[in-house]
């Protein structure tokens, strides 16, 4: 092994680190650590200037290991690894030390100790860096097809986009027709049009596309594999179909809450907005004179704290429609905050107000009261602006309820190993940097299965997911992170503990083919599936598993550095 020559770059992050941690002192301290050939401070190591000083340092000081002491690997590791690679150093010979979250931020009030801790952390990083090994990233071919789950507007937009770029798409829809939630609507805001003809034209393009293979009605039974290489099996009309896909887009939509509030289901003239749409569609609404709509029914309450984003506009749209059908009718919308964000919604709201729809604000401490025996006769509401209790006559009460997550999200989440959070909606990898990607490579998310969204937002997300998914498809080859587990077959006793703990089904027990060990049952890691979580390495009772980049030697050297041992 060539003697390690370690370069250490300590970031000031402007004043984020430099204002608390004495960076020059850390640099001076670092210079005396074993194998450190160069140490310097940067104003921002992530700036162009900082990156070029890493590249320059590698050449100038003949560095074969790089340590950056700055912020979090979550946002910055790829950047620094790339800087190393650009300068000809294997990117896995890079080590990250976090002295911002772990020092300057958390110990903001104690500069001296923050500095001491930074020195210790850098010492540990340097100790580990000495033992780093170069790694080769696993390369995998990408099968040039996509699976899109969900045939609503988000899914169809994604499918069409990929198909029009020449890729084969398997579109899997649970229901017997395409169009999703939109098919249930009477009109859509803010253009007041019947959605069926608009959706119809998209459905027609999907159905007629030579590159799109429809599976409908069908559900995904299993989807194993990894980016570039998923093996999918769907249950289609009680027949099992299998196919391969390089990428997967999840666009399964959401459902509308049926509330247990305001005597819904008990009194005949209490509907949800969705029920109202259905009645209007079927021309079964009948006559009405006094309409009251209540917003935030079952939303923005402790058990369901979120705002469902689309209900205010739904209510306003239908309120306008009621006024249009019967201009003599009195239409009230009882709301908490009106979420008419942006240009068109705000305009639409203003027009509807001018058309005579009345808006009354209520607060959660004084919710509207429904009065009536078999039917709603009136709604009592405290009007904050007039500071008085009003009794509104009512022959039709319409409740705006939120979108809630589909019941089968959990099953899908387990099958694809993608996370769900808040209220059962799918959780993206990063809300700003990766809003339509899952942490699992090669799987993407769009539309209301991710979070409530209106049509235009769902379609934009469908396209966005397609734009991410098409990158591996076009490249044809993907590199997979090399921080993975590796088994020493000589030590492995084939107990299978690792197989049980692996959340990614990446480990199998197999007969060894290695000379001298032929026939021995040992575990084997599928590097493409391994996410490097480290569970197996920790669980192995025989110490047969090492995690690349976190080997025992590397970790123990860090502990020894901290405790002062060599």
């Amino acid at each position: 092994m060539i003697a390690p020559r370690i370069g250490v770059f300590v970031c000031r992050c402007g004043t984020n680190i430099g204002g608390i941690v004495d960076v020059p002192q850390v640099v001076e301290y670092t210079k005396n650590l074993p194998y450190v050939a160069h140490a310097e401070a940067n104003l921002y190591t992530c700036s162009e200037e900082g990156i070029s000083s890493i590249k320059h340092g590698i050449k100038e000081h003949d560095l074969n290991r790089v340590v950056v002491a700055s912020c979090t690997p979550r946002t910055h590791q790829p950047l620094f690894r790339n800087a190393c690679a650009d300068a000809g150093l294997n990117p896995y010979l890079f080590e990250f030390v976090n002295i911002r979250e772990h020092c300057s931020w958390i110990h903001m009030k104690n500069r001296r100790e923050a500095t001491e801790k930074a020195k210790e952390l850098v010492k540990m990083g340097v100790a580990k860096a000495r033992w780093l090994d170069a790694q080769e990233e696993f390369k995998s071919e990408v099968y040039p097809a996509a699976m899109v789950i969900g045939g609503g507007v988000a899914g169809m937009s994604a499918a069409l986009n990929l198909a029009n770029q020449g890729f084969e798409v398997h579109l899997v829809e649970k229901e017997p027709e395409l169009g999703g939630r939109l098919l249930k609507l009477n009109r859509i805001f803010p253009i007041n049009k019947d959605p069926s003809e608009l959706v119809g034209s998209i459905v027609k393009s999907v159905r007629g596309h030579s590159k799109i293979r429809l599976h409908m009605p069908a559900v995904v039974k299993s989807a194993g594999g990894y980016i570039g290489n998923f093996d999918v099996s769907v249950d289609e009309d009680r027949q099992e179909t299998s196919f391969k896909a390089g990428v997967i887009i999840v666009a399964t939509g959401a459902q509308v809450l049926k509330p247990e509030l305001y005597r819904y289901g008990e009194l005949a003239n209490v509907l949800t907005q969705l029920d109202l749409e259905q009645r209007l569609k079927d021309a079964e609404l009948g006559e009405f004179q006094n309409v009251v709509m209540i917003n935030c029914v079952g939303a923005r309450i402790p058990e369901r704290p979120y705002c469902s984003r689309i209900c205010c506009m739904t209510a306003i749209k239908n309120a306008a429609l009621m006024k249009e059908i019967n201009p003599q009718a009195k239409v009230y919308v009882l709301y908490r905050d009106l979420m008419t964000y942006g240009v068109e919604f705000e305009e639409y709201y203003r027009e509807v107000k001018e058309a005579g729809v009345r808006f009354i604000r209520y607060t959660p401490s004084k919710v509207p009261q429904v009065i009536g025996a078999e039917r709603v006769g009136s709604v009592r509401i405290y009007d904050e602006l007039m500071d008085m209790e009003l009794e509104l006559p009512c022959d039709l009460l319409v409740l705006a309820t939120p979108l809630i997550a589909n019941d089968d999200n959990e099953e899908l989440s387990k099958m694809l190993k993608v996370p769900i959070a808040d209220g059962g909606f799918f959780l993206e990898a990063h809300v700003k940097l990766r809003p339509v990607e899952f942490p699992m490579d090669g799987i993407y998310v769009a539309g209301t299965c991710r979070w409530p969204a209106d049509i235009r937002e769902s379609i934009a997300q469908g396209y966005a997911a397609a734009s991410e998914a098409v990158i591996p498809l076009r490249q044809g080859l993907v590199k997979v992170e090399a921080i993975t587990a590796t088994v020493d077959p000589k030590i492995c006793k084939g107990c299978g503990t690792c197989v049980l703990v692996c959340p990614f089904d990446a480990i199998e027990l197999k007969e060894s083919e290695i000379r001298g060990l032929e026939g021995k049952i040992v575990s084997e890691v599928n590097t493409a599936l391994c996410k490097g979580c480290g569970l197996c390495a920790a669980a192995c009772p025989n110490g047969a598993i090492q995690q690349r980049g976190f080997t025992d030697t590397q970790l123990i050297s860090m502990v020894n550095a901290l405790s002062g041992k060599r």
Binding site: L79, Q165, D337, Y341, G342, D422, K432, A460, A464, S467
Partner: protein, 409 residues
């Protein structure tokens, strides 16, 4: 996706408005920390040609075969030679109000807009450089070891043929001095939200300390006024979409810096419609001493003894007119499409709506397609939206452009 891209940016660095922000809602992660790696990634990507300090001057040709003329303005610094060492900036003796810090700090006549600027190459601002004005000085040239200063550099015209164009020209800030009742520009301790962002930012002119303009004191009571110029029949009718949330974030940050600080947010409707936004509001109220007051203040006056602004408003729940004295007021001003939108729309023969946002003919089903085939628009230039929605639209526009280009393949 493998396409060649010209990335044309008007200012000397890529990064946009996000580079001016401190933290971002609702996660409070640092804006620059998310942005800087993206900027570097864009600059080192082999398929991206960065043209900063450049403007599109002419677009000709039919859809799908656009001929674009780009003026790459003279930086007066040779990009090949410059090492980004910054000595020219240090030595330049001439100071000007910094646009990046909205006048809260000074920059030099030769400058990079901020420390992480990409590319890290300064520009000479000829309107303030004394050499350009009076023919003397040349300090930057004298000290530049790389010999990169070139006072004779000329604008360069770059001609490119492209198959698709994506417009992402962002937003500008509505000037609140038109709302005279709020005293911006007259009452010292009334500032705008973007000025506040720079002040609370650790990399900003005050190093993250809140210092009120009149006396540099740390404020203990802050008022945020929402809908300043937005949802207003005399100004902009639309809702700027992001202000409820950024005010909440700014109030939270203030309390994180100064645990005794109280903030009052005067709002019309609390529009918290995104993922985890409602929870963020609840946290602000419960943990960070933020009080939401539903009222649109009628005026702001100044206490002549203390310089404290006094906010006059109607307490809607009790229907009483009242006032509140605070140490500093932050105006959450309306956000408007970028000033160059009008020229750009003429050049592209693109129609705008009443507020100068790009007209999207089928906003619902083709949310990023403009009326010209092959021309797409994303982000604030087509509708007010927050960062996650802008990122989604940007990816969507890329997908549509790829689809459009693929038709010819």
């Amino acid at each position: 996706m493998g396409f060649q891209v010209y990335l044309v940016e008007k200012t000397p660095s890529i990064g946009g408005r996000m580079s001016q922000l401190d933290k971002t809602f609702p996660t409070n992660d640092c804006s620059m920390c998310i942005l800087a790696p993206k900027m570097i990634e864009a600059s080192r990507h082999p398929n991206i040609r960065l043209l900063t300090y450049s403007e599109v001057e002419e677009v000709a040709g039919d859809s799908g075969k656009f001929k674009v003329k780009i003026r790459k303005k003279a930086r007066f610094v040779d990009e090949e030679k410059c090492t980004g060492c910054g000595v020219c900036v240090t030595k330049c003796p001439w100071k000007v109000d910094s646009e990046f810090d909205l006048g809260l700090s000074k920059r030099k006549a030769i400058y990079t807009p901020f420390a992480q600027a990409v590319p890290n190459i300064p520009v000479i601002d000829t309107e303030h450089c004394v050499y350009f004005l009076k023919g003397t000085c040349r300090a930057c040239e004298k000290f530049c070891e790389a010999g990169a200063i070139n006072y004779d550099q000329e604008d360069e015209i770059i001609e490119a043929e492209v198959d698709a164009i994506i417009l992402a020209s962002g937003f500008d800030l509505y000037d609140p001095s038109g709302l005279e009742e709020y005293g911006y520009g007259k009452i010292k301790n009334v500032i705008t939200a973007m000025q506040y962002e720079r002040m609370i930012s650790a990399s900003g002119p005050t190093g993250g300390q809140l210092e009120r303009p009149s006396d540099g004191a740390t404020p203990n009571r802050l008022a945020f006024i929402q809908c300043v110029g937005s949802r207003d029949t005399h100004h902009k009718l639309y809702c700027s979409t992001v202000c409820c949330m950024h005010a909440t974030k700014e109030a939270i940050l203030a309390n994180e810096h100064y645990p005794d600080l109280e903030a009052f947010i005067f709002y019309t409707d609390m529009r918290a419609v995104g993922k985890r936004f409602q929870e963020y509001i609840a946290r602000a109220e419960q943990q960070y001493k933020v009080t939401y007051i539903r009222s649109r203040p009628s005026k702001i006056t100044e206490n002549p003894d203390t310089g404290n602004p006094i906010v006059w408003y109607e307490e809607t729940t009790t229907r009483t007119r009242t006032s509140m004295e605070v140490d500093m007021v932050v105006l959450c001003q309306a956000l408007i499409p970028s000033g160059s939108m009008k020229d750009m729309s003429c050049m592209l023969h693109l129609s705008l709506n009443d507020y100068q946002f790009v007209h999207i003919p089928d906003r619902l089903f083709h949310p990023v397609d403009t009326e010209i085939p092959g021309l797409f628009a994303c982000g604030f230039c087509q509708a007010p939206q927050d960062i996650p929605d802008s990122v989604v639209q940007a990816s969507a526009a890329a997908a549509r452009a790829a689809e459009f280009v693929s038709k010819d393949e």
